[in-house]
């Protein structure tokens, strides 16, 4: 697994994917957080970085799909998939190697935003006026949301050898899990089951963790979502043997 992980990280670094992802994420978030008028923290008057946690899930839909779209599609297209799968290494360790490489990139794009957090602490009028609990929770939530997106992206990549198709499917699935369940639950015809429908979506659990109370059920939800997509990836990955 670590061999694959190392190879993926190296290819992220050598193909500039890593730098571009991190830079684009940081530019986009800082524009919204510090410069654009409506979402600007400085004008908002509250000592928190909530706009970041509202924006990041949306930006991640694009960015994470872009990071993961090539992971298996490219191998399939160039044929290296065959060299890889005929080496003495299990399918799961190939998938996990690629998964954790993607996740590492997500972590490294989130990490620099701690500077925003520090800035807000320094700018706040009174000492300890920042809600540390909520912010920590939000960071954990964002991380888990990223983990879920990466799993979805890896899955989208394994089902096709076309990177563009993989990118589009991944964006759709991320968007679907992030907010479509939310919208669905407000429909009239789902009355009675609407809580359950909302519960299926990422947003419900993401908001719940953001409050700063870490509910085990939310953590289990994210772990299950990640496992589900890794498992689906493994099934499709093994489909060469069907």
């Amino acid at each position: 697994m670590w061999t694959i992980y190392k190879k993926e990280i190296r290819s992220f670094l050598s193909s500039l994917i890593a730098y571009i992802t991190i830079i684009v994420f940081l530019i986009a978030t800082s524009l919204f957080l510090w410069i654009f008028r409506d979402t600007n923290i400085l004008d908002a008057g509250y000592a928190d970085i909530d706009p970041l946690f509202e924006l990041a899930p949306i930006i991640f839909i694009f960015l994470i799909s872009a990071i993961t779209m090539r992971s298996f599609s490219e191998e399939k297209k160039t044929g290296t998939f065959e060299t890889l799968t005929t080496r003495p290494i299990s399918d799961l360790s190939i998938i996990l190697g690629k998964y954790f490489a993607g996740l590492t990139l997500v972590v490294f794009s989130i990490l620099p935003t701690l500077i925003y957090y520090y800035t807000v602490i320094e700018l706040s009028a009174e000492v300890n006026s920042v809600d540390t609990g909520a912010t920590n929770g939000s960071y954990l939530g964002l991380l888990m949301l990223g983990a879920a997106y990466v799993a979805i992206g890896i899955f989208s990549s394994v089902i096709t050898e076309n990177q563009i198709v993989s990118f589009i499917i991944s964006m759709f699935l991320c968007f679907f899990f992030y907010s479509v369940f939310d919208y669905l639950s407000s429909f009239e015809f789902l009355k009675g089951t609407n809580f359950f429908v909302e519960w299926l979506g990422i947003n419900y659990h993401y908001r719940s963790i953001s409050k700063g109370v870490i509910d085990t059920r939310d953590v289990i939800y994210f772990i299950s979502l990640v496992s589900l997509f890794i498992w689906l990836t493994k099934i499709i990955f093994g489909s060469r043997k069907w």
Partner: protein
């Protein structure tokens, strides 16, 4: 569908192995894609240390068989055993014993040669990665190219990287799918030499549709057509078995009658090729040229040309896969 007798076969193999260790043993192997049988009930055995050429026209089932032997796809029925291990039951072990160069030699073009070989060594769980990688770079003649990106290399050098990758874990069995396709004559020569060197100590199964390649590199040829084996023998035997007649083309300076030529001992058929050229057919070619020369001297004829054409493996191939 054939019943699966994995264990039974393994037992009879071990008793056989005492006499002659088998590297590859394929029993009634079949692979079906939808309705089409890509490989249809083939059986063959390869003893350790043999270089076997797997021959056939495009789409004969060579690649499919190789993919099954390297555990990339499972057989529909039948069994394939590599070094005593079933490719389906002991997939991971088999994969660690086999070195594989797939068709079209897929490589990570944005990796550096050395970086890629390091990766290949690690994924094959090689113990002393550094030593092994520099050893392979030396054997395959990549010393000057090791700091280049694979994408910058010419096709011949990429092929060397592919071979280096396949041999890095010192596998017992090497499976090479069309290792020389698309190379220029010099590169083909180099790769052939390399394979011949490797073949001295390893079992090599290589596929090709070029006859000369088999004559140049292999001890034995298995010819496959439309999914079935049509010939399986030593390269020399294979050539002899189909050598029914040889033809000598001769040219004399002066005119000579057909009847006279027919009287040369050993000649079965005479046909004119115009301009005092004659095609002399004979069952064998022993002493034939000698008797033709003698005939020319006895009849005061000047022999300008005498050319013997033997049937080559190419002819064997053509006649078997038509």
């Amino acid at each position: 569908m054939y019943p699966r007798f994995g264990h039974k076969f393994k037992n009879c193999l071990t008793s056989q192995q005492k006499i002659k260790p088998l590297s590859i043993s394929v029993q009634q192997l079949t692979k079906t894609y939808g309705q089409q049988k890509a490989v249809n009930d083939i059986s063959f055995e390869v003893p350790a240390g043999q270089v076997v050429g797997f021959l056939g026209p495009n789409g004969a089932g060579k690649t499919t068989t190789m993919k099954m032997l390297t555990c990339f796809i499972p057989p529909t029925s039948g069994i394939a055993i590599v070094c005593g291990l079933d490719v389906e039951e002991n997939s991971v072990e088999v994969r660690s014993l086999v070195g594989y160069l797939p068709e079209h030699n897929p490589l990570y073009l944005d990796m550096y040669v050395k970086e890629y070989l390091d990766f290949a060594a690690e994924i094959n769980k090689v113990k002393n990665v550094k030593e092994r990688v520099s050893e392979m770079i030396e054997i395959t003649g990549l010393t000057l190219e090791k700091r280049k990106k694979i994408g910058q290399l010419s096709k011949g050098y990429r092929q060397r990287v592919g071979l280096a990758q396949a041999m890095i874990h010192n596998p017992k069995v090497l499976i090479l799918d069309e290792p020389t396709s698309g190379l220029d004559p010099n590169q083909i020569g180099e790769i052939r030499n390399l394979i011949r060197t490797i073949g001295k100590e390893k079992t090599v199964l290589l596929s090709t549709h070029i006859m000369q390649e088999v004559e140049a590199m292999c001890d034995r040829a298995i010819i496959i057509n439309r999914g079935t084996i049509v010939a399986d023998d030593n390269t020399a035997n294979l050539r002899n078995s189909l050598k029914t007649e040889s033809v000598i083309t001769v040219q004399f300076k002066n005119a000579v009658s057909e009847d006279k030529l027919r009287k040369i001992p050993g000649i079965t058929k005479v046909s004119s090729a115009g301009d005092n050229r004659w095609n002399l057919h004979s069952a064998g070619n022993e002493g034939l040229q000698e008797s033709i020369f003698k005939f020319a001297v006895d009849n005061n004829l000047v022999l300008l040309e005498s050319k013997l054409s033997e049937s080559s493996l190419e002819d064997v191939f053509k006649s078997l896969t038509r």
